[in-house]
Symmetry: C2
């Protein structure tokens, strides 16, 4: 639906509207409009400005970030138009502004804006612009809040997802279950999209699956289990075998299996009477989904009811030629319970000769996060898939990334934002950004240069300086040089426009990029900071400007 | 736009669609649909079920919560219909399900669902249902995820806003500035709406202002300041006086005032040359908004540049019959800077006899939260308004509320969800809930009873029991009794439907309810828990059911 209408530009084909129809030019801070008026009043609104969008610090006490949200930004500017209805509303908010201003507002679009950006899904670092936006100052200013609101959370949750993948390992299935705990509906949809980008395998969110083609997963809840009283409720007990050759009374088959398990040599005495409500729910669920039976086993008691009941149903399915998927644990000591469940499954395999039963899938959920998965790994567990909700989508460990949007040049004049806090000083000038690779193929350092400086060359020694710390500098001989900022919206320039890849392609790129990083940057404990630098020329210029702009203190 | 189309029911008039058009029945977890199929296959889908929506623990280490999100839930069910296009998609996700099920899905709506809820904006407590939803189990199950996603964040951010209001005090202006740090665009819109509900005065978010009629505020950013080079850029220097009687060269007037301030008796020597870029930006902004001049003063140096520049412009405006609004501080030691700025303003008032200049508004922003405002209060400050973003909208201190949706009855049979963690045991039965008030007008206790029990009576002694702790009980003689759950969607019952009040009315109600609470429940440090209880009869029933359902352990 959101994909329907589209404006485009001549060089790159049509760009669909933003996924969320609420993303319009009015989804911004009022001061963008009051500033636009002040620029317009001063005759400055067409001044050519360059803004950098960047962040200052990697989240989650880590040393990397994944860039997300670019496609939505490009969709936003491709369709940027303030409607007459919106203008009417703005007139009520800014009643003292002149008519000419509102006429100007209704005329603007982003045809003379240029956007250069690092491709979505790249591993990125503090201070290096994720996006460089150039255009008439009043228009570019109007993009600030929407861009920040589209990039901040997207990048944060993609990074969070990637961190969960790193700690869980490549062999585990990661499922995003956060819709109900996200910041409202669209927070949930963004969470699903960007968790998938960051390396998750699937989501429970049907709408997100539909919008973005993400695999969707789901089984049943505790309520489903407790909605059943007992097996008497099941009226249609017949199950046809998978090859269609025979039909059975599935309820009796399940009941027989439960008795056999109870009496089996390895499991005798490990459990007594199981919950009949649970057994009825599992049986019903298996009758509905004989090909994909996965049961939530912790409504009453995992080892004394849930797992035995599951096994009875799974063995009955096996008789009929179906293979059950496995179980989900949603409470308790997941390490212990997964290990005990695995033992139970192996005992079944052994006692009844059902090949592969021991490998039945174990999914764990319940307030999981990086730390708990790390703890499970250390303790030892038998979990095959993690369902992660609250901590993933709310980014509990750090709820905001803090991207900023800073003016770095206006009318070809470089601008700097000073601050007593040196981490808040902006890096002035319209810049180019490169990633330099070393002999072993790892990225070594990102470097920013002035726009007119020659680009770094393979095999040529280059001085890389810390932007603010005089003593931090190093020579690098790059084995490979990648220009980071690519043209995603050419405006009136003659650059061609980068294509917007599919979510699936971005996800693949993201996984590849994470693999390519030197492992010590990526580890959870005391990761090594990746180096971000400026050229010698840019370094000198920053410090010249700094001294020029900063007021001289007087000690009194 | 979102307000346009509407379905309604016969008794209560039309209910608009959800504010966010992405809120459709597919915005849910897949397991709601797989369960619906399993219910349908088992012929159980029409079983009459009762679910409670509640939370288990107050957020932010506090002892109260504000209920938000009800209106959006009612909008959702009033318009609940699965479209043919959505059905088509579901068929691809659940390819093994029978046609009859999809025919059933395309036929359902919420006409036979009943929703009882505590009014939005009420102070609420753990375990007491915020909403009780009754209807065919398959349909009500489909409401779980959307309801949770509409209520969880709404209630959390409303509560967070109310907590910020409590610590800031009633006399301060509270401005919500969080759009750029929220969980994407809709997170931002929800944050603005529910911050206002919780007692904020205004938002920077234009779209939210438009959708909900919230006052909108905004001035200019650091980029605006650094986009100016100097006063030479201002080409149209003329300002007409407020009464239209004369016109001046405003730039010269500002320059003259700056010299006069520099030489004034109280301020001589406190600052030297101010930033000309900043002075030009302020002057331009004042020319654009002479009636509402508010300047961001920390781009270069607050006391040596920003405040003197502001005062020069404000005094020039004063000459022309305009009253400046004040300044905004966005960095540094806000306590110190606000106090120093206030002194500066008073010195201006004294030296130049401008009555009221000392009372000029001081707005503070920059990563503010409950703790920092509390610290500012203790230190002493001169801030009149707080602009709060990240910490408010991301609910940094606790990023999720954790509402749950539990089956409490099916086909008139009470259901309980057990757990080894007693706080996770659900309270079974279709219940009524009351708030009992004491002599001094404060709410004393909330009590849940079975549906058929007589309601508590004014002046009659009643035993209130803790639902799980045998020894915690107390007699109460209520001076007033309020039934909490009111009918917001009558379904096929004969109840009449409560009106949905405006956001402004809910906000007023919320402020009144907060005022009515006993202060020790509301304090920041060691607040007293508010008592939540059950009737003696319900207590006995819970514990009868518990013993019946829980498996008996065996010590080995």
């Amino acid at each position: 639906m959101a994909e329907a209408a589209a404006n485009g530009d001549a060089r790159g084909g049509a760009v669909p509207r933003p996924t969320n129809p609420m993303v319009t030019p009015l989804l911004t801070d009022l001061y963008q409009f009051t500033m636009a008026y002040a620029y317009w009043k001063a005759g400055k609104h067409l001044d050519r400005a360059v803004f950098d969008l960047y962040f200052r610090k990697n989240p989650f006490a880590g040393e990397f970030t994944i860039f997300g949200g670019l496609e939505e930004c490009i969709r936003f500017i491709a369709n940027f138009r303030i409607t007459e209805e919106e203008i009417k509303f703005l007139r009520t908010v800014m009643p003292t502004c002149e008519d000419g201003f509102f006429e100007y507002l209704s005329s603007i679009d982003c045809s003379d804006v240029e956007v250069y950006a690092i491709p979505e899904g790249y591993v990125v670092f503090p201070k290096v612009p994720l996006m460089r936006i150039e255009g008439p100052v009043a228009v570019v200013q109007l993009l600030e809040t929407p861009f920040l609101s589209l990039v901040n959370y997207a990048s944060l949750v993609t990074t969070n997802a990637a961190r969960h993948r790193l700690v869980a390992g490549k062999s585990k299935n990661l499922l995003e279950f956060g819709l109900r705990r996200a910041q409202g509906p669209d927070g949930g949809i963004s969470a699903s999209r960007y968790s998938y980008m960051g390396g998750f395998d699937a989501t429970s969110n049907v709408a997100a699956g539909r919008l973005f083609g993400i695999p969707i997963r789901g089984t049943h809840s505790h309520a489903f289990v407790s909605s059943f009283m007992g097996l008497h409720e099941i009226t249609d007990k017949a199950l046809t075998s998978s090859d269609g050759s025979n039909k059975c009374d599935f309820v009796s088959l399940v009941q027989n299996w439960l008795i056999r398990i109870q009496d089996s040599s390895s499991l005798r005495g490990t459990f007594g009477e199981t919950s009949q409500s649970e057994l009825a729910a599992f049986t019903s669920y298996a009758l509905a989904f004989p090909n994909s039976f996965l049961a939530l086993v912790d409504t009453y008691d995992v080892m004394r009811s849930g797992v035995p009941n599951f096994c009875a149903v799974a063995l009955a399915l096996n008789d009929m030629g179906y293979k059950a998927v496995g179980i989900r644990l949603d409470s308790g000591d997941l390490a212990y319970l997964s290990v005990e469940t695995r033992k139970f499954f192996h005992a079944i395999e052994k006692d009844f000769g059902v090949v592969g039963f021991g490998k039945m899938n174990i999914t764990a959920s319940n307030d999981l996060n990086e730390e708990t998965i790390d703890a499970l790994n250390k303790q030892g567990h038998e979990v095959d898939a993690f369902g992660i909700g609250t901590y993933l989508v709310t980014c509990y460990a750090q709820a905001a990334l803090g991207c900023v949007f800073k003016l770095v040049e206006i009318n070809k004049q470089p601008r700097i934002k000073l601050s007593e806090d040196v981490t808040k000083v902006s890096i002035p000038c319209k810049k180019k950004c490169y990633r330099l690779y070393g002999k072993e193929g790892y990225p070594l350092v990102d470097i920013m240069t002035g726009e007119d400086e020659p680009s770094p060359k393979i095999g040529e020694r280059l001085l890389c300086r810390h932007p603010f710390n005089e003593s931090k500098r190093a020579y690098v001989v790059p084995q490979n040089v990648e220009e980071l900022l690519k043209c995603y919206w050419p405006g009136n320039s003659s650059n061609s426009r980068e294509e917007l890849p599919s979510l699936h392609e971005i996800r693949t790129r993201c996984i590849q990029h994470l693999d390519r990083m030197r492992p010590d940057h990526m580890r959870r404990l005391n990761p090594t900071p990746y180096k971000v630098s400026v050229s010698a020329k840019l370094y000198d210029f920053i410090h010249f400007l700094w001294l020029n702009e900063a007021p001289v203190g007087e000690l009194q």
